[in-house]
């Protein structure tokens, strides 16, 4: 678990999985191929604008809709360091933890952070800071069971250790 700084890209409420990764691209399971279309139907120029370690900040219910793991995979492979949202849809939340995409739930941070600002995130403590103003927010802690999955780098490693 690490600390990093990244530029913030904001999105609204109820960003669905069709906006994150349209189904028309799901004929490939290759994460790199999927990443080329990350957020395409929410912001067609998203992939041209971002740099590694950038951060997606969204409102409530991020990732609603389909169960496609292709959506968090596309975000992870696009180089997005983490997603901060007011809340996450249930299946997206599970998928992100399972594949090792860091997600942080903080309605306050999601409301405060603006497009283009730089945020510093400590994944260990769940602390989010707006660099310009120094305002700090703390994300809800994960249950220890989920922390264990994340510490092992995802569900597959976790299960591997058990079978």
């Amino acid at each position: 678990m690490r600390t990093f700084r990244g530029k913030v890209w904001t999105f609204g409420d109820d960003i669905d999985t069709d906006a994150i990764l349209p189904a028309r691209y799901m004929n490939s399971p290759d994460p790199r191929e999927l990443a080329r279309h990350c957020m395409e139907d929410a912001d067609p120029s998203f992939m041209e604008k971002i740099s590694p370690d950038d951060i997606i900040v969204a409102g409530k219910n991020f990732g609603c809709g389909s169960s496609r793991e292709h959506a968090p995979l596309a975000i992870r492979e696009a180089g997005i360091a983490c997603v901060i949202a007011g809340s996450f849809a249930r299946i997206f939340y599970r998928n992100a933890i399972n594949i090792g995409l860091p997600i942080l739930e903080s309605p306050d941070a999601a409301a405060f952070l603006e497009e283009g600002c730089t945020a510093e995130v400590n994944l260990q403590t769940g602390e989010i800071m707006d660099l310009a103003s120094g305002r700090k927010f703390s994300a809800a802690a994960f249950p220890s069971f989920m922390q264990e999955i994340m510490a092992q780098g995802g569900l597959i490693n976790f299960v591997k250790g058990k079978v």
Binding site: N27, E69, F145, V163
Partner: protein, 423 residues
């Protein structure tokens, strides 16, 4: 402590006497499901775990239905991954083209999803089987891989939100109208992390097809599951169909729920969800007159016999409006055949509709009816997000089969009763 239906099912699957909302449990899985888009990713992850065989070759269903019959070379490769894995693992419930149907219509039809069971599928509409009194929920591909290896999965026990429908259903109102209304009231995240339980005198009288439609769209309110307690209608549906013995469970009277809604639906109008959210539900009259280019009747939501019959009633002796393309997709081969025998397919073709082999097809913007920029569709499917059925500049209105069929004839969004008055 009294327990809800969802809690009872999860407690049993976890080997516990009782569970309570918020509790993390490990549950045994009675049935797991993957399709041509999600299973290839699950198979890739499964292979990393390093176990040879899936936990039970009779409890994993692999259904190619999304981009099937193969829509392009890449889809053909994905289907190949599924087929080879099914053969190598001797998967019993793999259904090839010609035998397959849309997964959430096919599995219940085959008697593979049963009351009291815990069912997971790498597809968000797995919640459909809740209509039989199962705890069924969508998961991602990695979760499915874990189930394939171990036969178990962790869950957080959800609180239950009870939806009680009262009154007398007016004409032209079906399961789709009830669930669109519900989502309109709750919002797309109104039931996030919760189990929705549908009950009351209206539900008790509904046939299974309408119940499947309702449970199918629980996810559209963010719910983890959508349940209907099993009753005589359920048991009749399962007679001669159930492929495993099962124990039906019921919630306790007075079990605490997190919220309860009581709605009288006696004056409900047919519902339409405006673009681009299933929660934009309105009475059909609010959208009446909207010109349309395409109508799709099908999907895991409304591609069953009762849906096709409703549509055929309105299309019989009429023709689809010259500006409109109507695409009808029976959800399974058995439904296709039954529709043929009942003469419904002839009605559709004479009305100048296209009738397709079972597939998800246009529902997720896959193939068989993709929308161009600026086009407008009415669909009996379950999602109308931006770009869902094609170009991000196209629009989808969600409705039940009656509104969809009436609108196809009128060339604009229409109340089914209005169509009957003109002709």
């Amino acid at each position: 402590m009294e327990q809800t239906l969802a809690e009872k099912i999860l407690a049993r699957a976890a080997g516990k006497k009782e569970v309570s909302p918020g509790e993390l449990i490990n549950a045994k899985i009675d049935m797991a499901l993957g399709n041509d888009l999600t299973a290839p990713v699950a198979i890739r992850e499964f292979k990393k775990i390093g176990v040879e065989k899936v936990f039970d070759r009779e409890r994993l269903a692999l259904i190619p239905d999304h981009f099937i019959p193969n829509k392009d070379i890449q889809s053909a490769e994905l289907a190949g991954v599924l087929r080879r894995f099914a053969r190598q693992q001797e998967i019993v419930h793999y259904y090839e083209v010609g035998r397959m149907g849309i997964e959430h219509a096919l599995l219940p039809e085959l008697g593979l999803t049963l009351p009291g069971e815990v069912i997971v599928g790498a597809d968000s509409h797995t919640c459909t089987y809740g209509a039989l009194g199962a705890f069924a929920t969508g998961v991602g591909s990695t979760d499915l891989a874990a189930v394939m290896a171990t036969g178990e999965l962790w869950f957080r026990v959800p609180p239950t939100i009870r939806i009680v429908f009262h009154g007398q259903l007016p004409p032209w109102i079906s399961g789709k109208d009830l669930i669109l209304y519900t989502i309109g009231q709750l919002g797309v995240d109104g039931a996030r992390y919760a189990a929705l339980e549908f009950c009351g005198p209206v539900i008790e009288k509904l046939e299974m097809d309408a119940r499947f439609t309702i449970a199918n769209m629980a996810i559209e309110a963010g719910a983890k599951a959508g349940l209907i307690a099993p009753d005589e209608i359920t048991f009749e549906y399962l007679a001669g169909r159930a492929q495993r013995p099962y124990t039906a469970l019921h919630g306790d009277v007075g079990a605490p729920v997190s919220q309860e809604f009581n709605w009288d639906v006696s004056t409900l109008e047919p519902q339409v969800s405006l673009p681009s959210s299933p929660a934009n539900a309105r009475p059909v009259t609010a959208a009446a007159g909207t010109a349309i280019d395409q109508v799709v009747i099908g999907s895991c939501t409304n591609g069953r016999m009762d849906d096709l019959r409703q549509a055929a009633t309105l299309l019989k002796g009429r023709q689809v409006h010259p500006r409109v393309r109507l695409i009808v997709i029976p959800a399974t081969q058995a439904i296709y055949l039954q529709a043929l025998q009942e003469g419904l397919l002839e009605t559709f073709i004479r009305a100048q509709a296209v009738v397709s082999t079972p597939t998800c097809g246009p529902c997720l913007g896959g193939h068989m009816g993709i929308l161009a920029a600026g086009e407008v569709a009415v669909a009996t499917t379950n999602r109308n997000f931006t770009g869902r059925m094609g170009h991000r500049g196209s629009q989808v209105y969600l409705a039940g089969p009656a509104v969809a069929a009436a609108s196809a004839v009128a060339g604009e969004i229409t109340h089914p009763a209005a169509l009957q008055e003109v002709n």
